[in-house]
Symmetry: D2
């Protein structure tokens, strides 16, 4: 059973069994957030990466990612997942525009799109989110670390990401001019 489902259940939104049924029928709405540290000119100095258990069973580096609940706005989902993963002191600066920098389409088939989730077909709206506070890894995150854009794009960090999160980071940095 997935950690995300347990949390949702704890909050009374949807039993884990039901989400499993729904996952076989419709695409699930997700949000992905790439945490960044900016300098005063808005230039990316660091990219934030979690270390966590992934849907594919690996322990990998990853960006913040999670489901949008019934009745929840995209912004509320972003805030909830960022706070859950980075802690209450992270102070994420949510974007003024609702338009994501890319849309990641996760399929159970790893060859389909470059984004892979063995559990489901998920359509994820991806945002770059500047962090002005102090992130602390929470709950199911084992670690959080800042890497430079060069490190984030390098082969060794990319190799520690699965499911297409390396691609998400690469496109996020491209959006920022890298």
């Amino acid at each position: 059973m997935n950690v995300d489902d347990v949390l949702d259940t704890a909050q009374g939104w949807l039993p884990a069994q039901d989400i499993a049924e729904v996952r076989d029928r419709v695409p699930i709405v997700y949000v992905d957030a790439v945490p960044v540290r900016l300098d005063h000119l808005g230039q990316v100095e660091r990219v934030g990466l979690l270390l966590r258990a992934m849907p594919d069973g690996t322990i990998s580096r990853a960006v913040v990612s999670g489901r949008v609940l019934f009745g929840e706005t995209i912004r509320q989902a972003l805030w909830r997942h960022l706070t859950k993963d980075l802690g209450p002191e992270a102070d994420p600066q949510l974007p003024a525009s609702p338009s994501p920098y890319t849309v990641a389409e996760y399929f159970p088939d790893p060859e389909r799109s470059g984004y892979h989730d063995p559990r489901q077909h998920a359509v994820s709206l991806a945002y770059v989110v500047p962090i002005t506070g102090t992130p602390e890894p929470q709950q199911d995150s084992l670690d959080f670390s800042w890497v430079t854009p060069g490190e984030a794009l390098g082969p060794s960090v990319a190799a520690e990401m699965t499911g297409g999160h390396d691609k998400l980071v690469r496109l996020a940095l491209a959006t920022c001019g890298f």
Copy 2:
């Protein structure tokens, strides 16, 4: 029973009863497409509006809109709905970028977000789609007509749209510089 569900059923993807159950549990992924006619410089000359039965029971002007199916990509869903609504000769030019110009969050509560769907919570990725062929209203569309950007933004056309489609058109034209 909703026309969209019948079509889905006819194509064997999901019985109408099941989609009704799912709709109470998770947000449903949608796409919205605003058809436009461009001049050779890319400037919007006309906005295309359907006349159709809407989820709220009205007959209204509307943009192309529909559900993304399990296993279907955003691009496939856009193509399917554009072809279904505008006919096989429309020749829609799907965007190279997956990033929508806005994200419309439809809620059963009409006061929640400016986008309203009494049937469900839908998260819709909205795109401006240039049409280079000849659209013909199909199936459940009663009419298709081209209006100028000025007409599309005017009060009389806006009053013929429900559920937030007037807002979708207004934001689409703003994206195009109007």
Copy 3:
């Protein structure tokens, strides 16, 4: 003689006489910045408007706007003009992405594009800039005030803006989902 030119001269970049000559020959690169106050979910709560002498000779409400100097990056120009107009305590959050939400093409002919500058043909990259500090009107600004998005879009505030700044604000709010 224009205030902007005097300042540039004071900083030794280009004499006012020379900029006048250049202005008749090539489009001039500008930046426009629409200051906004966001809530913790990234939703626009207020739009910031200056009161200042405009190129057309009026005293009008306006967004932050100014020339990009030779050798200066877009980000440096944004920072310089925001700091000059809003003061050292404004704490503007420059965007991570270099892509502007729109490009305003100012022409001496007021009928040409919806953006008007009697002095020059200027191509301006326009950004929405969240302000987290305390703006204070500086130097050539007579006032700075926060208005709600509804007020910013209303006819009375729009009537106090010239040169197309009302359009810039309207498109900025559309980008943010309004």
Copy 4:
């Protein structure tokens, strides 16, 4: 003397000597266009690259690029340069939105920004432009060829581009989801 200047002069807009003077004083407005061939779903199948003499004296692969003239709109400049470089049968599909996917800041200093032009400081608005017709290299272009996205991102093609055009292509493909 630069080919671009000769053309401008031939069209009577600005003598080559004057543009040289202006280039030392203000940033020059440019447009860059990355030609792409899309399939019916909007997915990039090919990227179009010119072979031409570059400002740095090399013969290199390059995207369409050129100056915006006094009194000319961005769209007119895009059309003029695309038609000049790809010929009258290219049928470029100019974007509906004026917002570029990135802004390339070319500096005489090659270390400054990743974009380099020894002649000038240029601020270039970059667009992805689908080509539906038949491009033919014109005038100062020695060749035009379509490459796959994989080839465009590979080291051998990138090595044939100078001044940052490889970066322009990479960011363009990232915008398109690659």
